[in-house]
C-alpha cells in the first residue's frame, strides 16, 4: 500500500514531534547542568547557557561521592544483567517450547508479579536478607535486582525464543545434537538480539533503581547513584538544582552509551533469512 506525499509528511511531522517530546527533558537537563545559579532562576530561561560553567559539576563532585556511587551502580547493574540473562535463558526456552499448563501458569504468574508494589515486598524482603546477613551488601542488592528483573526478562525472552523457528532445532536434532548442544549452538546465537535487549533491560532497571538501594544499603561508601542524587534535595522538595542537574546528567550517560552501542544489535533483525520459506 502506497502512502501519499501528504500522509508521509504527516508521519514525519508526528515522528519529529514525538522525538522532540522525548528529547526535551534530557536537553533541558543538559542545559541546566551548565547554567550558573543566576541563570537557573530567570523568568525567561534560555536553552543555551549564556555563561556556561562547570561549577555545578565541581560542586556535585565536591559534595557527594559521585564516582564511587557510579561504580557501585555499575557493579550492581552489570551483575544484574549477566545473572538475569544466564538464569532467564534456559527458563524462557522451557516456557516457550513446552506448551504445558505449568508453563502457561508460570507465564501468567510472571505477568502478575509485575504488578506488585515495592512497598508490599520490601519489609519481608528486608527481613529475609537480614537473616541471610545480606543487608548492606552488594551481593544482596544484586540478588534482589535479579529477582525483580527476572519476570520481565523471562517474558521478553520467551517471545524471542518463540521467534526462533522450531525447524532449525529439529534439523539440529536430526544431525545428532542433544538438547543442550542445540540450545547453545543453534538457538542461543539466533537469540543474540533478544539476549542483548534483555541484558539491557536488566542493566537499566538496576542502574535506575532507587528504593531497594535506599533501604538495603546503609554504608555511605556502598550507596548507588540514584540514592546519592537524592542528597541534593532538601526539605519540602527544595533542590540544589545546578549540582543535581549535573549529577543527573552524568547518571544518564551510561544508559545512553550502552543504548548507542548496542541498538543495532537489537534492531538488526538477525533472524532474517535464517529459514528459507
Amino acid at each position: 500500500m502506497r502512502t501519499s506525499r501528504t500522509g508521509r509528511a504527516g508521519q514525519y511531522a508526528a515522528l519529529l514531534a514525538y522525538l522532540v517530546f522525548l528529547a526535551f527533558p534530557f536537553l533541558w537537563l543538559v542545559s541546566t547542568a551548565f547554567k550558573p545559579p543566576r541563570e537557573l532562576a530567570r523568568l525567561h530561561p534560555t536553552w543555551i547557557p549564556e555563561d556556561p560553567t562547570l561549577a555545578n559539576f565541581r560542586q556535585a563532585f565536591d559534595e557527594q561521592p559521585l564516582l564511587d556511587a557510579a561504580l557501585n551502580s555499575l557493579a550492581a547493574a552489570l551483575g544484574t544483567a549477566v545473572i538475569a540473562v544466564l538464569l532467564a535463558t534456559p527458563m524462557a526456552y522451557v516456557m516457550a517450547r513446552r506448551r504445558t499448563r505449568l508453563a502457561r501458569a508460570a507465564t501468567g504468574w510472571v505477568v502478575v508479579s509485575q504488578a506488585f508494589p515495592l512497598v508490599l515486598v520490601i519489609i519481608p524482603l528486608f527481613l529475609v536478607l537480614k537473616n541471610l546477613r545480606l543487608i548492606d551488601s552488594m551481593t544482596g542488592l544484586v540478588m534482589v535486582y535479579v529477582v525483580w528483573a527476572l519476570p520481565f526478562a523471562l517474558w521478553m525472552l520467551v517471545g524471542y525464543v518463540r521467534a526462533v523457528p522450531r525447524e532449525l532445532e529439529e534439523a539440529a536434532a536430526v544431525d545428532g545434537a542433544g538438547r543442550l548442544r542445540t540450545l547453545v549452538s543453534v538457538t542461543a546465537p539466533l537469540l543474540a538480539p533478544g539476549l542483548v535487549a534483555t541484558a539491557l533491560f536488566a542493566f537499566v532497571t538496576a542502574w535506575n533503581e532507587f528504593f531497594f538501594a535506599l533501604v538495603l544499603l546503609k554504608t555511605p561508601e556502598k550507596q548507588t547513584l540514584p540514592v546519592v542524587l537524592t542528597h541534593f534535595i532538601g526539605a519540602e522538595g527544595v533542590a540544589d538544582l545546578g549540582p543535581l542537574a549535573a549529577a543527573a546528567f552524568l547518571a544518564t550517560l551510561p544508559s545512553l552509551v550502552v543504548f548507542a552501542l548496542i541498538q543495532r544489535r537489537i534492531t538488526g533483525g538477525m533472524l532474517t533469512g535464517a529459514v528459507k520459506s
Binding site: 530567570r42 523568568l43 546477613r133 545480606l134 543487608i135 546503609k218 534535595i233 532538601g234 540544589d240
Partner: protein
Amino acid sequence: MRARLLWVLVLALLAAGCAGDADPDGPITLRFQSLAWQEESVQVNKELVAEWNATHPDVKVEYVQGSWDSVHDQLLTSFEGGEAPDIIHDASDDLADFAYGGYLADLSGLLPERLTKDIPPHSWETTTFGDGVYGVPFLQEPRVLIANADRLDEAGVRIPTPEHPWTWREFREVTDRLSGDGRYGVAWPLKEPVSVSLNLSLSAGGKLFHRGPDGKVTVRFEEGDAVMPRTVHDQVATDRSASPSTLGSGGSDTLPGFFGGRYAMVPLGFSYRQQIVQQAPEGFHWRVLPAPAGADGLTQGVSPQTLSIAEDSPHREEAAAFIDFLLRPRNMVRLALGDWMLPTGTEALKDPALHTTEHDWATGTALASRLRPAPAQSVRGYPEFKDKVATPAFQEYYSGAIGLAELRTRLERDGNLVLARYQR
C-alpha cells in the same frame, strides 16, 4: 558433581555478602543518619562528627547521609528490620507514627539538664507524644515574606517589622497597591496548602483541631481559621493581587517570577534566603519581612528538625551524649548557620551571628519566640485528613472554585469522619 559445584557457588555468593561482626572489645560505633543537604550544612555536620570522634576514642560516630525525600519509608523499613541508625535526624511532624509505634526511645531522663532547660517548653511540645519525649527539636524556621525592596520603596508602603507587623487586612491592601500592569503584589506557593494555612492561621487564633476532655480531636473551622485563607482567596479571586498560577507551585518555582519583578513578595521559609543569595540577579534588592499578624500577633506553627534515638539502639546513653555534644550552644549556632535556619536553644539564639542585618538574620531571630508547635503535630490520622480532605478543599477554595462555607463543610464533615476512624 555439577550440583555440588552449584551449591558451592551459591554458598560463596552468600558468604561474600556477609559483613563481619563488630569487635566486642573495640570502640562502640554509633550510626548518625543526617538529612543535612546544603553544602555548608553537610560540612558542619561532618566537622562536628570528626570533632566528636577526635575526643571520644571509645565511642565512634559514623556519619550516614540520608535524604529528606525518602526518610520516612527508609526509616520505617529499617525500624521493622531492626537495622535503624542509632541517632536519627528527622522533622517533628514525621515522628508521631514512629513514636506511637515504639520505634523511638523515650528521651526523658536520658538528656542532660543543660539541654533540657536550654530548649523552651513549647519546642519540646513538638516532640512530646503521650507521656514521652521522642526527639530533640534543634532547628526551626518561620515562614516570612521575602520582598522586592525596590518595589516596596517605589510604592511607598509602610515596611513592617517584628515589633510592628502588617495585619492581614493591611497586607491585603499593600498587595493591592503593588499590583497592576501584569505584576502581582504577592505569589503564594501553595503546592502544599494545608500546612501553610494551618501554621499561619495560628496568628489569628485559628487552631482547626480541638482536643476534648476525653482526649479526642475534632475539626472545627472557626473565625480565626478563616482569616488567612480568606485573605489569600480574596487576593487571588477578588483583588487579583496574587498570582493564580503559583497556587500549585513549590517555593523554588516562584523565584524566577520574583527575580523578574512579576511578584513583589513571596511567602517562604526563612531558609530560602540561601537560594535567593545564590540566584538573585546582581542589583536585585530584597528584604525579609515578618508574616502578617492577627489577633494572636506573629504566632505561627512550625515543625522543627529533630534528633532522636532508635529504641533498638544498644547504646542509648552514648547516643544521648553525642546529641548533647552536637547541640551545645556554639555547635547549634554552626548547624543553624549551615542550614540558614534558627536554633531552638535559647543560648544559641543569643549568638551575635544570628542578630546581624546581613541577609536579615535579625528579622527571623526576632520571630523565634513566637513559633509554636504546628497544629496538626500530634493529631493521629492527620496525613489522611490532609491528603484526602484538606488539600483538595483548600486548593479549590484558593482557586475560587468553592466558597468559604463549602470549605468549612468539607473540613468539618469529611475531616471528622477521617479522624474518627483513628480515635475509636
